[in-house]
């Protein structure tokens, strides 16, 4: 709930501080509809990754490889279309399949070999990015995608940026999975107590495999809309996105220790970060110093730490109050 107030405050502040009128009397900056749509476009990719991470973090896992997988899938998509001569829909389908396979690799290592998710996905984080760079030898950029494809990332459909519809669809699907189906119950039980879940006869390995495979597919989707938005596929696509996505999930109230959290919280977290990053870029003071990126990083970090502190502060205070004086 706190986050919702933060988001509104943030938005109002940037509306006030980031909206200006240029010499010709046209309103520019944060307060324009174009800018708002831009925020939406930009938040779709990190938003998708954050949606992919929410069920994983609910199971007390983590996936550091989603950003690298975005890069790998973007390259694969470009290669399927450009070098393979496949049609766009077939290339998309293949790319989603590859995403599922990559997620499956994480899933097998984590469930069958019982390796810790942090280490497994740290490995695939390097592996996927390395593969993307090997395929392109670090030099090739796939471009010249047809307009019909770029429509997905650069145009509007029914009044909204096209990819926003995809994002909304995925968000709804993940929300239903986590909040309205037994799968979500399984994720939480595993996150709170993996042993307890096993003793309750829950299919722990299958549930864990599901969240990592799903993360692979959603990362591949993010790769498609990323490529469509920029009109090019490069091996460095999505570098560092995993950290923004994890930040968004945790900011949205999902416990990094697993069990507690929600998909709508994640959406708020994504919005809070997106508004912050874009709003800063609109502020004249920040623009003059050309330091939007740095400021964004600094404020995102501060926001996360403040939110985390605020969430544990009541407990800590009550603990101190109730603690008896040492004898």
């Amino acid at each position: 709930m706190l986050l919702l107030y933060v988001l509104v405050a943030e938005w109002l502040f940037f509306y006030w501080a980031g909206t200006t009128t240029n010499r010709r009397g046209v309103v520019v900056g944060f307060g324009t509809l174009d800018r708002q749509f831009d925020i939406l476009r930009h938040s779709c990719e990190i938003g998708l990754l954050a949606l992919a991470l929410t069920p994983i973090i609910l199971t007390a896992g983590i996936d550091l490889s989603v950003g690298s997988l975005l890069g790998l899938c973007a390259i694969l998509f470009g290669k399927f279309w450009h070098d393979g001569g496949l049609s766009i829909p077939v290339a998309i389908a293949l790319t989603l399949g590859c995403g599922a396979l990559a997620g499956g690799l994480n899933a097998v290592l984590i469930t069958a070999l019982r390796l810790p998710p942090l280490i497994v996905t740290l490995g695939t984080f390097s592996l996927f990015r390395g593969l993307a760079e090997a395929i392109t030898r670090g030099a090739i950029t796939y471009t010249d995608f047809p307009a019909s494809f770029l429509f997905l990332g650069q145009e509007r459909w029914l009044g909204l940026p096209t990819q926003a519809w995809l994002f909304a669809g995925v968000a709804a699907a993940v929300w239903v999975l986590v909040h309205r189906m037994t799968f979500g119950r399984g994720f939480r039980a595993i996150g709170f107590s993996p042993e307890g879940a096993r003793y309750a006869g829950l299919p722990v390995a299958r549930r864990l495999a599901l969240v990592y495979v799903l993360a692979g597919v959603i990362s591949a989707m993010a790769a498609i809309i990323y490529t469509a938005r920029l009109g090019q596929a490069k091996a460095d696509a999505g570098t560092g996105y995993e950290l923004f996505a994890i930040t968004a999930v945790v900011l949205g109230g999902t416990s990094i220790f697993g069990g507690a959290g929600s998909v709508h919280g994640t959406l708020l977290g994504v919005a809070a970060i997106a508004v912050l990053r874009n709003g800063l870029a609109c502020m004249p003071a920040v623009m003059r110093m050309n330091s939007a990126e740095e400021m964004a990083g600094l404020l995102t970090g501060a926001l996360l730490l403040v939110a985390l502190t605020a969430s544990v502060l009541p407990q800590i205070l009550s603990h101190y109050r109730s603690r008896p004086h040492p004898a």
Binding site: R180, M181, T182, F183, G184, R185, G186, R188, A189, F192, S193, E195, G196, A197, R198, Y199, A200, G201, L202, P203, G259, A260
Partner: protein
Amino acid sequence: MAAPLLELRELAKSFGGARALRGVDFDLHAGEVHALLGENGAGKSTLIKIVTGAHHPDRGTIRIAGETVVHLTPATAHALGIACIYQQPALFPDLTVTENIALRLDSDPPVRRINWKARRERARGLLARIGADISPEAEVRALSMPEQQLVEIACALGAGARIVIMDEPTASLTQKEQELLFAVVRELRASGVGVIYISHRLEEIFALADRVTVLRDGESVGTNAVSEIDEAALIRMMVGREMTQIYPPGEASPGDLVLALRNLGCAASGVHGVTLDVRAGEVFGLAGLVGAGRTELARILFGLTPADCGEILLNGRPVAPRSPLDAVALGIAYVPEDRRRHGVVLELPIAHNMTMAIHRQVFRGAWLRFGAERLLALEFIRDLAVKCPGPEAPGSSLSGGNQQKVSLARWLATKPRFLILDEPTQGVDVGAKSEIHKIIRRLAKEGLAVLLISSDLPEVLGMSDRIGIMRGGTLTVVLPGNADAHAVMSAALGQKP
């Protein structure tokens, strides 16, 4: 006569509502091996923990070598020469024997050159004193269990221990290793150390101890010289308690055979050659000491550690549960011993916990049905009289007994054919305990086959239609439900009745 090395007077300790010790007297002289005997939960561990400073007694006095010690902490206990050798040695496996001994004995300032040679020599000397043939250079990881215990004893000697406590030191030792350990204990006694020796093996007590004290329900039943008492008398002292609780009467006529085990075993969990039958409507009690393999048997039946030999027949059909998932599908339910870790997910609401094993039945197509879940939870809350604010309350907000009922409800909801209850009333208050007993009896009456694992002797005796006794990983005897406590305890201790 000199003052005893250790003198405990009127020692009492409670945990929450449970009174673990109710005024125990105990003393230990120099050059004596004093055995401590009692059922599981009789208060032995609590007594040891007080002597080692881990727990502080609610009342009573502790005198060490005649001096009254008011505030005993682990550090002061160590300084006063009290050392404890546990069943599972607590050494660092990746360090050498020398390093482990140095870690216990030295408190060097952080920045100083270490004299490895002196440390090695000291380790060698200590090991030689107890006649242990262990290289100080060996990594502890490479040592066997008894060798590690010897290293522990060497540490104790090095610290100048005058009082050495040994908590079931022979539980995992072979005959030959035991004899080696016994020789070391006698060595300690000869050098004037006082040894408190805890064991369930009566023959060891007769072979080794000078005196024996029996604890029962947190009270000392008596202290005798070993030469003046026999095994039968000791067992009588351990079990001789009047039945304080009324148990609901049993069902006279059990029905069809539900579960049959034929020579069942699992090497990994040390269970072997278990053959038993449980009928519908029957409560089959499983007694034995801790570590006898009862929980391990339950884990095999529930698919947590699948069997590797023998047969499980369920309603006459051979089955092989490989996971809890399989077991649930077969109609086997297991209410585990550790309810906080395995029985209930404490952070989740009661209702979620109750439906956790029946997702497929209640939530067809994996769609949650909150209304149906709530009704089901409310029904169980009423049926089992769970005291709770409502089905949305988290499991952690309930008392132990009510958590146990939630765990039970989860498994009753699966409508099982065969129900395993593992210590269902451990850490449960008296009221909830008798309610759980009534529920068990009712379930049996309704035709469920129940396997009741319990270390609570009156409970096993009062609730069971038949009683199986496990010892050393296998079922040794099956007694009728009207067997007496003496017979059950004798069998659990491996004595001829």
